[in-house]
């Protein structure tokens, strides 16, 4: 089949069709969507001022990524090629709105805090990217693993950024005071947009230093 013959864009050396563990490791670590591919940073910048918000956002992305990857993968052999992206977006949007509805019904306070960013997951490049690059070429189970791995990779980096920003920007973690207000003046640049850029850069640098150079980079 011609679709399978295409090399999948973002995973390069390719874990496609390989073992689940490789897929899991690539999504969450060696091809981390945020730290290596630098995708989906818009929401990563917006919701990381508090750790609690970031964790819910990470959970939302895992849910959407797993769900959309699974259904795109099931349909992969009969989606008309010309409208495949429209179908993907429809599936993604369905899962995002589902999550938003559940938040509004059962986690009202969190829904209030995150405001518009849950709905904006529809436009998150990670979700669309995984559907296009992975789920279209791989069987459902492997696609679920891939969706979970990428969601996890996103959530992990988000949490790292949020811990740093909440600690320096508010002196708290999960709303609990860590750096007492008596001697620590919250650094407001960390709670605003520029702080997110600085932190993202630092976190990506640390991540890459720990991970070490990739085999692909030698090319």
């Amino acid at each position: 089949m011609s679709k399978d013959a295409k090399s999948c864009g973002s995973c390069g050396t390719c874990g496609c069709g390989g073992k689940g563990l490789t897929t899991l490791k690539e999504g969450a670590w060696s091809q981390n969507p945020l730290a290596i591919q630098v995708l989906g940073i818009c929401s990563a910048l917006a919701v990381t001022s508090k750790l609690e918000n970031s964790l819910v956002m990470g959970a939302a992305l895992i849910f959407v990524c797993v769900g959309s990857n699974f259904f795109v993968s099931i349909l992969r052999n009969n989606i008309p090629h010309r409208i495949r992206m429209i179908v993907e977006v429809a599936i993604i949007a369905t899962f995002v709105i589902l999550f938003d509805q559940i938040l509004k019904a059962f986690y009202w306070d969190m829904s209030k805090q995150l405001g518009p960013y849950v709905a904006l997951i529809i436009t998150n490049c990670i979700v669309m990217g995984r559907a296009e690059a992975f789920a279209l070429q791989n069987p459902p189970m492997l696609s679920i693993i891939d969706g979970f791995a990428n969601g996890l990779g996103y959530a992990g980096i988000l949490a790292a950024i949020a811990i740093f920003r909440e600690l320096t920007g508010f002196g708290t973690i999960m709303g609990y005071e860590i750096l007492a207000k008596d001697w620590y003046t919250p650094n407001q640049i960390m709670s605003s947009a520029p702080g997110a850029f600085f932190t993202l850069g630092i976190v990506i640098a640390i991540f890459n230093a720990i991970k070490g150079p990739d085999a692909m980079e030698g090319k």
Binding site: I83, V87, I102
Partner: protein
């Protein structure tokens, strides 16, 4: 042509399945969501008026507390919520609505019986940027309003939310890096206060 027909039917089926799923989910969630929204509004009226209530109260309990304490009066199409203790007016609240930076902001402003001094402010709907404009919902920011006047030095109704505005009779300091939200908050409060004082003249 055969391919096009398949594509069309495929798109229609996907569309219908997605729409059906979402309709089902929305209908399933609606009672919970509406209860949350109603409770949110009542909690905010109670909070703004400083009515004592249990924070963990269920939506039904809240409704009882609300009905027992608050009397709603309509004046020129503006709802005013009166809180009476032993038949004496303790305070009153008015709703304010206006465009924020990201989306509509809704909240309540509570005034002392003299209708000149602010008793409290709450927000029950806002989608301002979390951590920035979203900080308007924090107690720290809302406490800045307590005891402030709704009239400026010349006796004109209005309110200012700007940098260093806490020196004014009718102003509070803005949140830094949330200038747009604060400016718009000032505008919507001023509009509400103007129509409120208008009504007093009409009475």
């Amino acid at each position: 042509m055969k391919g096009s027909l398949y594509t069309l039917i495929y798109a229609a089926v996907v569309g219908i399945v997605c729409a059906a799923t979402l309709t089902f989910a929305a209908n399933f969630c609606r009672p919970y969501r509406e209860k949350n929204e109603a409770a949110e509004k009542q909690i905010n009226i109670l909070l703004a008026l400083n009515v004592p209530f249990d924070v963990d109260a269920t939506a039904d309990e809240l409704l009882q507390i609300f009905d027992a304490n608050i009397k709603q009066v309509e004046q020129n199409g503006m709802a005013i919520y009166n809180y009476e203790v032993n038949g004496k007016l303790d305070s009153l609240a008015v709703e304010f609505i206006g465009p924020g930076r990201n989306a509509t902001v809704k909240g309540f402003l509570a005034l002392e019986p003299d209708r000149k001094t602010i008793k409290g402010i709450t927000f029950y709907q806002q989608e301002e940027t979390p951590g920035l404009g979203g900080e308007i919902i924090t107690a720290e920011f809302r406490d800045r309003f307590k005891g402030k006047s709704i009239y400026d030095e010349k006796g004109e109704p209005g309110f200012v939310v700007k940098k260093n505005a806490d020196k004014l009779k009718n102003g509070v300091n803005a949140i830094s890096s949330a200038t747009q939200t604060c400016d718009k908050l000032g505008i919507m409060l001023t509009e509400t206060l103007k129509s409120l004082s208008q009504e007093q003249v009409d009475e």
